[in-house]
Amino acid sequence: MTAFTIIYFAFLITASCAAAFYKYKSALLLLFTLLCVSLLAGLLGGSGVLVNIAIGFGLLAAAGGISYAFRESMVQILPGEGAKLMRTAPLTAAFGLLVIITYVIAAVFAPVIAPFGEAEVVGASFAPADDVMILGGDQLGRDMFSRLIYGARNTVGIAMMTTAIAFTIGTIAGLVAASAGGWVDQVLGRIVDTLMAIPQLIFALLLLTIVGTSVVNLTLVIALLYSPLIFRLARAVAGNIVVMDYIEAARLRGEKTWYIIAREVLPNITAPLAAEFGLRFCFVFLAISALSFLGLGIQPPTADWGSMVRENATLISFGEITPLIPAAAIALLTVAVNFVVDWMLHISSGLKE
């Protein structure tokens, strides 16, 4: 029974009593469940587990606090519309925005922030963390922290580009299918069905065997494999628009298909497409990281989060968690994008049920 354990339980019990007294039902339930779980975990795993739980909740609370401060300061800083939007944003969305902004800053100003170059050998391989290399060295003695920062640029940048290409292909094909109809629609639809009948990761592996691994090939292959889903959405939402009277009016005016697509249909489907862009970005990002992790994506010496995990994975069996930081960076960005997309879907109500 350490002092920590006593303080831990005392805090939980006081907090649950306070929640019960002020009739915060959900807070009470949460705290009480946590209390029971902690009792069980403490009995089984000792106070080490309790420390982990406390650290976890401390991190959550810190994230909540930062997001709250970020949201409120945004409300103050942003003019008119922006402030109104931010005021109604849930904390999760504020957190997501904050994370995305941090990543963008890291990516854009990577050479300024990173203390060392992307492929610069600084110390011994697997050097432990010290004042010079705050996260230690990797398998060749390069600075982990600098590579992490450059990774934001490479991994996120490539994923962004891939999503943009996939989106261009998918949206244009979807809009053409919806506006042209007839055999064009049929042919495109069948091609997409076939592409979707093969699991994407497996298909990507097959295509990468053939074209070889390089960043350009990776981008094009992933973009091709992820465009069918975008095609389906674009075609479905555009299908609802092309039957409208104003489209018919445009046709009767003698407008070309291209004009109808660009000026009449596209502006009306931007909201669902923007949300879809966020979601697809997550999938593309995870797919590229997975391929890089397998050694078939972004190639060394380019700093990339997926391959960083793979290169330093041996450290994990010694109980070191530094190789997991790039993987955590991937997960954090995906969660953040998901939070923002949820919020966007909510406010645009373009896809709201």
């Binding site: 959900s26 339930l29 949460l30 469940t33 795993g45 069905d193 076939t194 009948a197 093969i198 699991p199 990761l201 497996i202 298909f203 592996l205 097959l206 295509l207 990468l208 065997t209 053939i210 997550c282 995870l286 990281s289 997975a290 992790f293 397998l294 050694g295 078939l296 997926g306 995990v309 994975a313 994990i316 069996s317 010694f318 109980g319 968690i321 190789p323 997991l324 993987a327 955590a328 991937i330 997960a331 995906t334 969660v335 998901n338």
Partner: protein, 318 residues
């Protein structure tokens, strides 16, 4: 009953057709390779004679459609040709690994399916409660994390810090079931984490959708108690969407196995596929892709058939 069999038969034929098209793509993709396959394998320094010999050996002198039918004919009989890397029969290497992969996927499914259905139904019934929000957040995190992240976290927690399970799941055929289960627990848990999250969210959405339907409202309006509405009206009808969700996620499980196998150095098809891609061993890659694609199509087909069997309305398409 006659109608159902005809409908299911039509689905099966459609699935077979898809598989045929997929096999053409898998075979054709390698054909599209620029230049000569034999030259690619031997490298630039090869003499004309050795290239010609290899072409003869691989049967590259026949037109491609004849080779496609030879390949397909062999594949349906379980003969996938010879590996380029080690000259061994592909089928021989593949068979024990496929059994291992199925074992791992089955183990993961055994953990994931009951857990996901119970959690999903609970989250739908208790929606907007603390339980729903917490499970929603946790499943979002688990979906957003790359599989290798979850796998390594489990290794750190359950193999390094508290040595409960081994970190590397090297199984071999003469291992007892218990030993085998012990070694595959961590990879199975990793896959179960991801699949449970997906399945739970889909189950929750399906049940919420169901609870919004008019007949549930009717039951509530005529004064049926809440518990009875759920057990007698909602759950029997929830079977159809749940079967669909399970089958779709099992399809995902089979293909999601690749990353997990690499993390845990598990001797399965996924590991073989990744190795062969690095070595550019085309026959093995083609065989692995065909097996994965066939399983994927099979489970999607099962989802379709399950939906038809459990929902009478689908038996009479308008």
């Amino acid at each position: 009953m006659q109608g159902v069999i005809a409908l299911v038969g039509k689905r099966l034929l459609l699935g077979l057709g898809t598989l045929l098209v997929v096999s053409i793509i898998i075979f054709g993709a390698v054909e599209l390779l620029p230049g000569d396959l034999a030259q690619q394998i031997l490298g630039q320094s090869a003499t004309e004679e050795t290239v010609a010999n290899l072409r003869e050996e691989l049967g590259l002198n026949d037109p491609s459609y004849i080779r496609y039918f030879q390949w397909l004919g062999g594949a349906v009989q379980g003969d996938f040709g010879i590996s380029l890397a080690n000259k061994r029969s592909v089928a021989e290497q593949l068979a024990p690994r496929f059994a291992n992969t199925l074992f791992l996927a089955g183990y993961a499914a055994l953990i994931a399916v009951p857990l996901a259905i119970i959690l999903g139904v609970l989250a739908a019934l208790l929606r907007n409660s603390v339980f729903d929000r917490v499970s929603n957040a946790l499943s979002l995190v688990s979906i957003s994390s790359p599989e290798f992240f979850l796998g390594y976290i489990l290794i750190v927690l359950l193999a390094v810090q508290n040595p409960v399970f081994p970190a590397i799941s090297n199984v071999n055929p003469d291992m007892g079931l218990w030993e085998r289960l012990n070694r595959t627990t961590l990879p199975a848990l990793t896959m179960a984490l991801v699949v449970t999250a997906y399945m739970m969210r889909m189950t929750r959405a399906a049940i919420i959708n169901l609870l919004a339907s008019p007949y549930i409202e009717m039951a509530r309006l005529k004064g049926v108690p809440n518990g009875r509405v759920i057990t007698r009206h909602a759950l029997p009808n929830a079977l159809a969407p749940i079967i669909n969700v399970v089958a779709l996620n099992l399809a995902y499980l089979i293909t999601g196995v690749v990353l997990v196998e690499v993390v845990f150095v598990y001797p399965g098809v996924g590991q073989l596929l990744v190795d062969s891609v690095t070595k550019r061993d085309f026959p093995v890659v083609q065989a692995c892709c065909l097996i994965f694609a066939a399983t994927f199509i099979l489970f999607n087909l099962l989802a379709d058939v399950g939906a038809i069997l459990s929902n009478p309305r689908l038996r009479h398409p308008k």
